[in-house]
């Protein structure tokens, strides 16, 4: 970690990554990244296409395990526990570290079932009444309750794009995660839906540690308090968001955010 990173390091990080390297077969996609994620600050990962920000995000909930040729080195901890240790239950990890994807992907089930699925498979609900409470709470936190409370048994795929993405966020929230990872959640949405999701992120801050990968620098500037700039698999610069966007230290960072890149 750089000196600046150490200076900014939170006292009580939720997740830490130290010297993380990711290989796809012989090719190295991530080259020794160290970063901390904490509850109070939304962290944004920015960088050009192919810089490894999505790959790194996926190491945080072990989604890279699904790719046969992927190999992860280094240490990533959640509340101090190494998530790649054999004793860590991947299924439980993914409930604690939830993920929202670029293209909204609700299950082809009803809205109620979409939210209820996670709590059901993890055994979080004590009965139907309890499940109803969980579903309502999740939908309210996702800012979707008012719009769908009268049609909970309609298909989740019949909603608009922005609503589907909020449904996916609600689905992630339903299993009581501690961290929410968002991989370009607004790229497929129109500006109004995007604004609603950004406002939602603002409301969720503090209750969940949020990491958001985004192509849109204005979005990173709007929603995050810490920004990490990735380039060619390296973490080039990490800092307070307003500093990164008004006075970045690294030349590469400056070139990227001022549009002098490429």
């Amino acid at each position: 970690m750089t000196e600046e990173q150490k200076a900014l390091a939170p006292a009580d990080p939720k997740m830490t990554a130290r010297d993380v390297k990711v290989f796809y077969g012989p090719k190295q996609a991530i080259k020794g990244v160290s970063i901390d994620v904490d509850m109070d600050n939304v962290t944004a990962f920015i960088g050009p296409s192919g810089c490894g920000k999505s790959t790194f995000l996926r190491t945080l909930n072990r989604m890279n395990d699904t790719v046969a040729s992927a190999r992860v080195e280094g240490t990533i901890t959640l509340d101090g526990d190494d998530i790649y240790a054999p004793s860590m239950d991947v299924v439980q990890l993914r409930a604690r570290v939830g993920m929202v994807f670029q293209k909204p992907n609700p299950f082809p089930k009803s809205i109620y079932e979409n939210i209820a699925y996670g709590p059901r498979i993890h055994g979080l609900a004590a009965g139907k009444a309890d499940m109803d409470v969980i579903v309502e709470k999740s939908l309210r936190r996702a800012g979707l309750w008012e719009e769908v409370k009268d049609r909970l048994h309609d298909s989740g795929t019949a909603l608009s794009g922005g609503q589907q993405q909020r449904l996916c966020i609600g689905r992630a929230i339903a299993v009581e995660p501690e961290v929410i990872l968002m991989d370009e959640p607004c790229s497929a949405l129109d500006p109004i839906a995007t604004a609603k999701i950004e406002e939602l992120i603002h409301e969720l801050r503090g209750r969940y540690a949020i990491v958001i990968v985004t192509h849109n620098m204005q979005q990173a500037a709007r929603v995050s308090q810490r920004t990490a700039f990735f380039h060619l698999g390296e973490l080039v610069e990490y800092g307070v968001t307003s500093d990164i966007f008004t006075n970045p230290r690294q030349e590469r960072t400056k070139d990227y955010i001022t549009g002098r890149y490429g």
Binding site: M217, Q218, F245, T246, N247, P248, K254, D255, I257, T258, G259, R260, Y261, G262
Partner: protein, 231 residues
């Protein structure tokens, strides 16, 4: 520095800087002409300085409009953002400098004397020159994005301040000894004050240039008292 991927952005920045350079040049000319007019009692030149100030004001309006457009359309970040904001502030300061030069020129007809009998007047051209150079250097620093040159300008402000203090004392003494010249001397006091203000504004420009280039603000500098208590 590398160019923006979007060429129009670079063109707009160049236009902006060009306008500021032009405005700066005009302001410098106004200061110089005003001082010459003062020395030579040239009322025509003075009138021209007053008239030319309109052009300086017009450029300020144009730059403001362009800056707002760049911010809305290009969403500048980091050094681009600092450059653009600095440009906005510098332009209003240079417009004030132009106004001071105009003010000096306006007082020329009211100072009906020649420098041989008015010793204090002889100090003014040198003071004006220093102030004029400060403006010149500050604008050069802006053009070159040079923080060191900007810093040098800031330091030179003490020279102008010292000049002003000495002119002030001389004029007061002169007024006491030649009560008939009080009205002209009063005008001269204002002229000296204007030149001192021009120096301060040139310093402001330099400070903004420094911030745009480095992202740091200069620490508050010690301002010299412009009135020492009488012994």
């Amino acid at each position: 520095m590398a160019e923006h991927t979007i060429k129009a952005f670079d063109e707009e920045i160049d236009t902006l800087r060009g306008l500021i350079a032009e405005m700066g040049g005009r302001a410098e000319a106004a200061i110089e002409n005003a001082m010459v007019a003062l020395l030579r009692q040239d009322r025509d030149l003075a009138a021209q300085v007053v008239a030319d100030d309109k052009r300086i004001d017009a450029i300020e309006a144009e730059v403001e409009k362009l800056v707002i457009q760049v911010i809305a359309l290009r969403a500048p970040m980091a050094n681009d953002l600092r450059d653009v904001i600095a440009a906005l502030k510098i332009v209003s300061v240079v417009e004030r400098i132009g106004d001071y030069a105009k003010n000096i020129a306006k007082r020329v007809p009211m100072i009906a004397t020649n420098s041989r009998t008015m010793e204090p007047v002889s100090l003014l051209p040198s003071m004006g020159q220093v102030a004029g150079e400060m403006v010149h250097d500050a604008l050069n620093a802006f053009a070159a994005r040079d923080p060191d040159l900007a810093l040098a300008v800031v330091e030179r402000d003490t020279v102008v301040d010292d000049f002003y203090n000495s002119v002030f004392r001389t004029l007061v003494t002169f007024m006491v000894e030649n009560p008939k010249t009080i009205s002209e001397c009063a005008h001269l006091l204002f002229v000296a004050k204007n030149i001192e203000r021009i120096g301060d504004h040139a310093t402001n420009v330099a400070e903004m240039v420094y911030y745009a280039a480095t992202g740091q603000t200069l620490p508050d500098r010690e301002r010299r008292q412009d009135l020492q208590p009488e012994e």
